[in-house]
Symmetry: C2
Subunit: 352 residues, 2 copies
């Protein structure tokens, strides 16, 4: 089966481009002495994580326990979970997971640290703990460098937890100085800060500049998407993830409807890409995919000299790779075109 | 197991509210002599479609073939597919499906009609055909009433297809007059127009006003969502679909982070609900869920007198029920609280 034989819409990934993307990011990290811990939330597949490990990645990052459990079942034994594990069953599942793999968690409160400690002790297991720092994004994370030192000091005292350092997401211009101060204050209390971890693909290739980070957690770089291409982080040719879709209606000269909507491409509007388009139609760069319904993509083709016809297959680079991948049970793997192999996306939809 | 025992985030639906919603819409349609053909894209579950059928629905609506195939496997034998069936395998699958059920399709072009006719003849089956009309939304559909009559005339001549009438989505103020003219022109050519079908829950309770529609295709009314509540179409108490989620971080006085993000709630921004919020936190009506990451929901709790604490479980009514349901493999069914039963969402993710 080739790409042209796929029923549409179908999510596809070019493993040749994936290999280039993995090699490039690993080379960058190696050059700067930064450990690369890929975020699996982009691909959600043990198989792609293995390619990253073979290239030199040190461990993996997961966003939820469910993802981590799938990865552990597939032999990954060094897992960072960068989400506060709170709620029914979470501390217990962490403790069970930590019985079979080296697990580190990120969190920003004494409440979470204490509950995890209790469970880990009950299960006789242990986990690393990174203090999550809000260096400007306004999501999770302690608010001041001194708070980071306070939480580090608490974690050191809690049985079952091992203080592993600091983390932030994303890496912003001010993040380096913020974390420098947090590290200074923590070290001033006699604590070692073994790891300073920064997340995100958008700023990945500048993460060495502050001299503060020892680890990079990046996910999207492996597949790429319209956001990273638009921001100049990677070339469009290296965007490995594409949706094969069919033009199903041409109701007017200026309008084409494709069979890929928000259930296929995701309606996520990634940060910094608020131009009103939901993907790039590769074969028609002058077309604008300006509206998504669940199953319909509405494309303005008024600027196309020869607009696509009904039945024509076109290829879309989604705005947000992680969001698109999560929608699909299956993905078609190929190498620069040609034969495809259908693979399951094993860790999709695991929000718990 | 009760709602409070669920690991979070978890999608839940109150079957008592579902029964009220089904009864209300059926009563409205019965009063006005309009056939109700529920759109299953909202719930994606044969089990809920059976409740709709038992209440008096006449057939079901599906958006993609994959949904229709699941419903046919579960005994539904009167299925309308309101999406142009074009591309690899589609006409063949339609023909196979039409061998076992009464199937009607909606489309807007001679290209599609001819291809479907060819396949249906090959398989020795037949399908109804509704001419899809663009009465102002700007998606699929013929552009002028005269075009509708032209396509109807073609369809009547094509073997395997039976002209079944006209359809549009959504029903807008001008839709009735548009379809009246299309029907007049079609009838002037000696063709009967047995059905005039309008889609959408937002304007459902006004669909009788034009006197033009014989059928309503509505989906979201069965579960409700923040959009329909905000538009006054239904009460918040009747919004059956809710996400149970846990507060996992309270990094600042004015901020709470919940474990439900775009992978749980959907980042869909429904038409007419562009107020910057991604869901309603039921227990904290003054809170604003203003940002979604994939797994994080960032809530501004500055207006809450007592903001929720870490570990507290809160309930969110999503903005867009259909989009939220599609993200989940499982849903917790309950009746006004109390015991839950976990059910599979059998037709989720079936974009082909």
């Amino acid at each position: 089966m080739t790409l042209r034989d796929l029923p549409t819409p179908f999510l596809t990934v070019d493993l040749d481009a994936v290999s280039r993307n993995i090699a490039r990011m690993q080379r960058y990290c190696d050059e700067h002495g930064i450990a690369l811990r890929p975020h699996v939330k982009t691909h959600k597949m043990p198989r792609i994580a293995e390619l990253q490990a073979r290239a030199g990645a040190r461990g993996i990052t997961c966003q939820k326990l469910g993802e981590a459990e799938v990865m552990a079942e597939h032999g990954f034994d060094d897992i960072l979970i960068t989400f506060p594990l709170v709620g029914v069953g979470k501390p217990e599942r962490l403790a069970a997971l930590a019985g079979g793999a080296r697990v580190t968690v990120g969190a920003d409160s004494d409440v979470v640290a204490r509950r995890l400690s209790t469970s880990l002790v009950e299960y006789g297991s242990s986990a690393g703990f990174l203090v999550d720092c809000d260096t400007g994004f306004g999501r999770t994370g302690v608010q001041e460098p001194g708070d980071a030192a306070d939480l580090a000091e608490l974690v050191v005292e809690l049985p079952g937890l091992e203080f592993a350092g600091l983390m932030t997401h994303p890496v912003l211009p001010a993040s380096g100085a913020w974390l420098h101060e947090a590290r200074r204050l923590t070290e001033a209390r006699g604590l070692a800060v073994p790891r300073v971890s920064g997340g995100g693909s958008a700023g990945a290739f500048e993460i060495h500049e502050s001299g503060e980070f020892t680890e990079l957690r990046a996910g999207t770089y492996v597949y790429g998407d319209r956001r990273l291409a638009a921001q100049g982080v990677m070339a469009l040719a290296d965007c490995a993830l594409r949706v094969v879709t069919t033009v199903v209606s041409r109701p007017a000269r200026d309008r084409a409807i494709i069979d890929a909507g928000s259930k296929t491409l995701t309606s996520d509007v990634p940060l910094g890409l608020d131009d009103g388009a939901f993907g790039l139609v590769v074969e028609y760069p002058d077309a604008v995919l300006h509206r998504l319904s669940e199953e319909h993509g509405t494309v303005d083709v008024s600027a196309c000299r020869r607009p696509p016809e009904i039945g024509e297959v076109v290829t879309v680079v989604p705005n947000h790779a992680c969001g698109a991948v999560n929608l699909h049970d299956e993905i078609a793997l190929h190498r620069g075109g040609g034969d495809v192999e259908i693979a399951r996306i094993l860790a999709r939809g695991l929000v718990r």
